[in-house]
């Protein structure tokens, strides 16, 4: 009886996994189709598509600016500037796949130009880390949260170029190809910077 129950449980797990994978695949396909359509409409100069682009990306770009170390006000200004530049460079957008890389590249350039103008400005990261249901009495969770806070500090202290690679790939969750496009360098250089950054993180995280 026990064996039968276990087998049934395993089968159910397998079916669940298969369904989940199918769902993620169809989600990806849907997202890719949506982005393709958005890119096509943007290229034809459609204003509604432009508004859609804002809805989809303005929070991401704002957080990207914050993670790059700009304060709240500057991040808002740079986010606006990023979209302003995007309207003027819509001709450079190739297709839906390139959408992420394109918008992040504009954002990276806007941020880089700002840092160039304000070389001695202090890096101001996001202040707190959201702690979901962390009970005070759980030492493991406390330790984990400390580790996260420590990691955040080390990332903020990384040199600008290395910090950007970590933020693009890990924090903003861009693929290597998209992050490379966004950073405006070739894939080899990007991977080498990523390795250097990870080495520093490994050394400094307790």
């Amino acid at each position: 009886m026990k064996k039968k129950a276990k087998l049934a449980e395993q089968k159910a797990d397998l079916t669940y996994l298969k369904n989940t994978r199918r769902n993620t695949d169809s989600d990806k396909e849907y997202l890719s189709q949506r982005r393709d359509s958005l890119a096509v409409r943007l290229r034809t100069g459609n204003r509604e598509a432009a508004a859609e682009l804002v809805d989809e990306y303005y929070q991401q770009i704002y957080l990207f600016m914050r993670r790059l170390g700009h304060d709240r006000q500057v991040s808002e200004d740079l986010t606006q500037e990023c979209f302003f530049n995007a309207w003027h460079h819509i001709g450079q957008l190739k297709d839906g796949k390139a959408l992420n890389g394109w918008i992040y590249r504009i954002a990276s350039n806007v941020s880089r130009l700002h840092w160039r103008k304000h070389k001695h400005k202090e890096v101001i990261g996001i202040e707190g880390i959201e702690m979901p249901n962390s009970g005070k009495g759980e030492p493991e969770k406390m330790e984990h949260n400390e580790q996260l806070a420590n990691l955040k500090d080390v990332v903020e202290r990384l040199p600008q170029k290395l910090r950007e690679t970590i933020i693009l790939h890990y924090i903003q969750q861009l693929t290597i190809a998209e992050a490379t496009e966004a950073a405006g360098i070739n894939q080899g250089t990007f991977k080498s910077r990523l390795n250097r950054a990870l080495k520093i993180l490994r050394k400094n995280i307790k």
Binding site: A50, V54, Y62, L63, P132, L151, V155, I171, L201, I205
Partner: protein, 177 residues
């Protein structure tokens, strides 16, 4: 710490190191969407595309030069059948093939080109010592009555008729010696 652990932590940091975005920001950006979105502009966009294609600077420069020559030939009022494009192309190819150092060859091409265009030019290159930097390779009469001289080291100089006579006399004396 292991690499996988770091990767996981970084991903988690991405999900948790967030802060609320001011609600009005999206609307403010939308209000600034121009009424006519520019699709593709020739100019800086073209240069940016060349940069995006990651062409080397020299290839990009060559592409721009060739385009300019073609445009000048097409819209500059020169007759295509007179060989203008061909001559310019030859000049460019000669330059790329390393003939850039050989000023005599370039001056000769220029002479032939000007001659074809019906300009008043005289070639002295066959009768002078090209090692002598003071001997003129070519003389060209300019519309203002002056003469433009081209020398073996590639430099050019404008002279009036008196100076030209003096120089030609000196060249003739050297030749007879």
């Amino acid at each position: 710490m292991k690499e996988e652990q770091i990767n996981e932590l970084l991903n988690e940091l991405g999900r948790r190191a967030i802060e609320p975005v001011r609600p009005g920001l999206g609307e403010e950006i939308k209000q600034r969407i121009p009424h006519r979105l520019s699709r593709h502009k020739i100019g800086w966009d073209t240069v940016n595309i060349i940069i995006d294609l990651r062409l080397s600077k020299s290839v990009a420069a060559a592409a721009i030069i060739i385009t300019m020559i073609l445009l000048l030939n097409l819209f500059g009022g020169r007759d295509l059948t007179s060989g203008g494009i061909v001559k310019d192309g030859m000049l460019l190819i000669n330059y790329w093939r390393g003939a850039g150092e050989d000023h005599v060859l370039i001056a000769r091409s220029k002479y032939e080109h000007l001659l074809d265009r019906g300009e008043n030019v005289i070639w002295y290159g066959d009768s002078i010592d090209v090692k002598d930097a003071n001997s003129a390779l070519m003389q060209r009469k300019l519309p203002d009555g002056k003469y433009e001289l081209t020398f073996p080291d590639g430099h050019e100089k404008q002279v009036d008729s008196e100076q030209l006579v003096k120089l030609l006399t000196r060249m003739l004396e050297k030749r007879t010696k």
